[in-house]
Symmetry: C2
Subunit: 340 residues, 2 copies
Amino acid sequence: MLDKKSPVTIRDVARRAGVGVGTVSRVLNDSPSVSPATREKVRAAISELDYRPNPSARRLSLGKTLTIGVIAPFFTRPSVVERLRGIESVLADTEYDLIVYNVESGNRYETYFQERVRQERVDGLVVISLRVPEAHVQRLLESDAPTILVDISHPDFSRVIIDDVDGGYKATQHLLDLGHRRVGFLSDYSDSTFHFTANRDRYAGYIQALKAGNIEPRPEYTVHGEHSRESAYELASQLLSLDEPPTAIFATSDTLATGVLEAADEHGLSVPDDLSVIGYDDIEMAEYLNLTTIRQQLFESGVRGGELLLEAIASPPDEPRCILLPTELVVRATTAPPPA
Amino acid sequence: MLDKKSPVTIRDVARRAGVGVGTVSRVLNDSPSVSPATREKVRAAISELDYRPNPSARRLSLGKTLTIGVIAPFFTRPSVVERLRGIESVLADTEYDLIVYNVESGNRYETYFQERVRQERVDGLVVISLRVPEAHVQRLLESDAPTILVDISHPDFSRVIIDDVDGGYKATQHLLDLGHRRVGFLSDYSDSTFHFTANRDRYAGYIQALKAGNIEPRPEYTVHGEHSRESAYELASQLLSLDEPPTAIFATSDTLATGVLEAADEHGLSVPDDLSVIGYDDIEMAEYLNLTTIRQQLFESGVRGGELLLEAIASPPDEPRCILLPTELVVRATTAPPPA
DNA sequence: CTGTTAGCGCATTCAC
DNA sequence: GTGAATGCGCTAACAG
């Protein structure tokens, strides 16, 4: 015989405490208008029955989903995971559930924005490192559920972005300071990539630094492809096979930088003596590899994004807010003056 | 003036299509008892109104949450992220939402099991690399929402585990085959750690291999601490400072292995000539570092776990199912015969 | 202060 | 095959 004990509801509690359901609801929601005595009775009944409110009912009645959605290319990059951690850390103390939408392929990318993300589904959305499809911008903006961008820029959305122009500038400037004149730029920037503004900005910084140093950018020194070590390996090989190869390479992520390191090794080049390499992000591996890099506040970006979202849900700002996080040059062992 | 267009409901669709709400609900749920003609009418109305059913209402009415919870130490280890990816990939094609509970501290660990995980909150739960608190085992087992374990063993739960005894055996055997007689075992196994059975099993395999090779295990060769490169560095240093230090070290994760590599370097030991090092997991970095390791099917373990859960929800098995995933020795450049 | 009641949007009987 | 009615568990508005 099935002993399906149906879950205890608010009515059971009310009965047990000898009060009405309304009162139980009030103590549940910390309403001030409940006498201490009855409050205590209700509390007792709740704990005796080990009662927990049914979230679905609560959500339906409230007209809120009490959940936050995060849409991101989670698993492709350590940096995204760090940001996610930051978001999760601020949500953990709230009543919001965190539901994750992982985007690894183009079709799911569109699908998530189209299907899943609606007022009825989440109370707020944060998009990490992913370009918002133009087709969905308007709807997102009009929705009651606010959207926050992290590590991606768009003038109409509140966002926390990294000062990537400055980061790119710093990286390049560091190389220039060391005496390099031939600096390669290697990234996964490309129109087909979801990940968009960050690399563009870093590139801008790269160009600015070059110009400030009176160095004419060479088109052949800029390469880009997929975001993987393998791809970076190919791209770097291409750079190093040039008639006049760069003496330093700025890779727009630490992961890419490892591919560059690999290629250097393959070409019999010793780092940093023959070739300087600088990465970006300062993920855990960077420290181990002694990689010079541009550190950005990964976890912090998630925290700030989460906070922005919570605030926006509480009271929508009149206009988009923008938080700009600084970067920091971390000099380690993969950069040095160019060979004499 | 606020133009709060209230979301379109099933009633709007019914009205538009000139039918009752029941009928709309039927076509929504692919009920066979709807005439093709009206089905078409309803479909048209749905798309004209761009109607989407309200998940909260649906859940309440259905008495299901349509969400799956994953509780794991997500962000601490790349391996966990890989497993999560696997789970997400099978859930992405279903109507289930995936909500994540990140456990980084002890109190949240207890809290999640206690508060969040209840029938009313999720329809199913998967626990990754985390020991289930004994105090909650019974409740979990009795719940209508099945619990699946991934990378953690418990006789009462369906689970997908890795053959870690064999993995530990293989790693040790590989070292023995190379001629090593003094093999250290370095792990993050400890009672205070959530992560539990995996390291214990690997240790068992280590001991078995030693015994099979007629080598008496030495207590001082077994060390454990936190799961971090820094910790591994300390532990390895300790090992290498022994009067008779091991000539090979088996670290129970690739992350730990990097710490060992670091310590070796610090001690002026060259790998693999002076010291052999083998890791575990074969995360992405292992390939880059040319680390000999034991590969396990990380992503696959998540996939299988997700499938197990879906099946359990559909029809609870009479007794726990157990899927055992094999490991594979991947020989790269950090292991070699001991110094002469 | 507190009990009662009316929805929230959908699925699901039950008659027709 | 289809419409109308009932209930899922909770919140909020309304009396008292």
